[in-house]
Amino acid sequence: MALLTISEPGQSTAPHQHRLAAGIDLGTTNSLVASVRNGVAETLPDADGRHRLPSVVHYRADGSVDVGEAAREQAADDPLNTIVSVKRFMGRGVDDVKRLGTELPYEFVGGESGMPLIRTVAGDKSPVQVSADILAALRQRAEQTLGGELTGVVITVPAYFDDAQRQATKDAGKLAGLNVMRLLNEPTAAAVAYGLDQQDSDGVIVVYDLGGGTFDVSVLRLNQGVFEVLATAGDTALGGDDMDRLIAEWLMREAGIQGSPDHGLQRRLLQTACRAKEALTEAEETSIELTLEDGRDWRGTLTRARLDEIIEPLVKKTLAPCRRALRDAGIDRGDIGEVVMVGGSTRVPRVRAAVGEFFGREPLVDIDPDKVVAVGAAIQADILAGNKPDDEMLLLDVIPLSLGIETMGGLTEKIIPRNTTIPVTRGQEFTTFKDGQTAMALHVVQGERELVEDCRSLARFELRDIPPMAAGAARILVSFQVDADGLVSVTAREETSGVQAHIEVKPSYGLTDQEVENMLRDSMEHAKDDMEARRLREQQVEADRVLEAIQAALAADGDEFLDADERAAIDAAVEALRAARGGTDHRAIKQAIENLESVATAYVDRRMNANIRKAMTGHAVDEFK
């Protein structure tokens, strides 16, 4: 008798139909697909036994598409229609891409939605479409190997990916006809693949991921079988491609190539550089052959020692994010249990040595660093597809930058601080600023700075139909929800009336990692200025509130309760506050507010007594007990 598991309503599987699930590592240089078969997670090879699918797509004029090796073979001959490293453009805006574009052979055109399009003979292609073509090839491979349609997949993304980049990845999956059950951070997948969740003792794990185009370092903590990402740092414009570029530049100098080479030679230079680098993983030196523009062949030799020198600046560059991640996580190097190596570039001997020296321990390299992420994703996909009786593993990720809203005076009120584990829902109550205010504009921002103008604007929306109330009486709960994929939605609700407004944040273009880094660095460098700016804005807002209140009171009953001298004193204090409000000294504003408040004390008392008398008139004392 077979053992059955309980399905969701209407989801019962037909007999003998195991839910086929796969994990996909959609990489900058190479992509892989893996699945759990007979209880073992393994990457799935193509008919020729190759596991890695080069993330290269070649478009032909007749509309046919090559993906992988076949496309890569076209790269040298038809560079304009052969798209490589498309992951770098995912979720980026036209301007971001154009900045990168100077180093790239593609022609970018601006799309309608601000999404960059790459001009090819088969039409303009968005990065999402190109990625979808890669995913479709992996899907086909998986379905042929597993003998059925995929129920769902888990696609991995760098921990650094922001909302727009994650959304773009999900869209690509959908376009490829895949059910994307979850996006999973790459370091988390790597740790899962190593079975570090099976360890008896809890500990801190560092994942050093140097791929083709991106560098990520993540600090994870394993706590009772649950992974928590404590901190991430990295650089999305750093990887094996950059090593190739440095080696290619060295080649150009050695071969005496002047000026800027044509596209074809550029390709050959990069391919030759890449082959030399790979050869030097095992060998101490390798010989190089290169066909120049004029058809001459150039020959040379590259030694391991020379390679180490060429790439040393890049290796050094990876260590700064390592330091930052440890600092963010509040972890000392001595507390680290394991260091996991991910990404083909960690095969480079100099990289392994540098990482070992930095963290003071031998990194884990047993699982093929190219496959480790896909394997972890497959394990997670198997669980999510419902092939396990229990969801035995819960994965937690973090948001890279704080989320908040704009408050009076252009200040940022952080609602979810950075590095908070997701999924998360957090709310905060706000109120109205003016009497009878019936609408409230909400501005959702992301960043670490105190002033809104220094943060990134994610979305704006309005809460309308707030019933008219005195300033400060309305109770508006603004709640932020970040789902497991890091996608944000915000709801504002006036609690007394129940009116609410909601927005899902889908930025039209993403934030580059450089920007994320800059935002973080700025927030540290400007910490003091920001504090001063915040104090000034706060005092200005307070001054406005006091001025508003006193003007309203004076207009209502100033003549009734005040004699000419008293009135003159208050008016003078009001003027003094107005003058201070216009300046930039928050202390002066504070003093002026206090001065006005003390001058007006007698007036405020008289008003209050009169109001109480008015309220009590005609009522028996008993009623107030």
Binding site: T5, I6, S12, A14
Partner: protein, 107 residues
């Protein structure tokens, strides 16, 4: 007749329902498919239809549509382990024959 649960099965169902955070009970049923005629349906139930028959055993509501009940009345739902795999078993007195794997059956 009725549908019953073993204590082990009831504990599991309660546990799963709690983890799921919603659901009124467990829906048992059959549908035609599979290599041997009929296949079991085992699902969480979020609502009870007017025509459904509801049993309660060990504090768990078991919901069955009247058509399915003809095929599974008298069934005891058990929970067991086989090696590393664990899951639910239908001990169905109506079954005359089942396929090798037991996922489908005839009566």
């Amino acid at each position: 007749m009725a549908i019953t649960l073993t204590e082990a099965a009831a504990e599991r169902v309660k546990n799963f329902l709690e983890q799921r955070g919603k659901g009124v009970g467990l829906r048992l049923g059959v549908r035609t498919s599979g290599c041997s005629g009929m296949a079991y349906v085992l699902e969480f139930a979020d609502e009870i239809e007017d025509t459904d028959v509801v049993f309660e055993d060990h504090g768990v509501k078991v919901i069955v549509d009247p058509k399915s009940l003809l095929y599974i009345d008298g069934t005891e739902l058990d929970f067991g382990k086989e090696g590393l795999n664990e899951g639910f078993k239908f001990n169905n007195p109506n079954v005359k024959d089942e396929c090798g794997c037991g996922e489908s059956f005839t009566i």
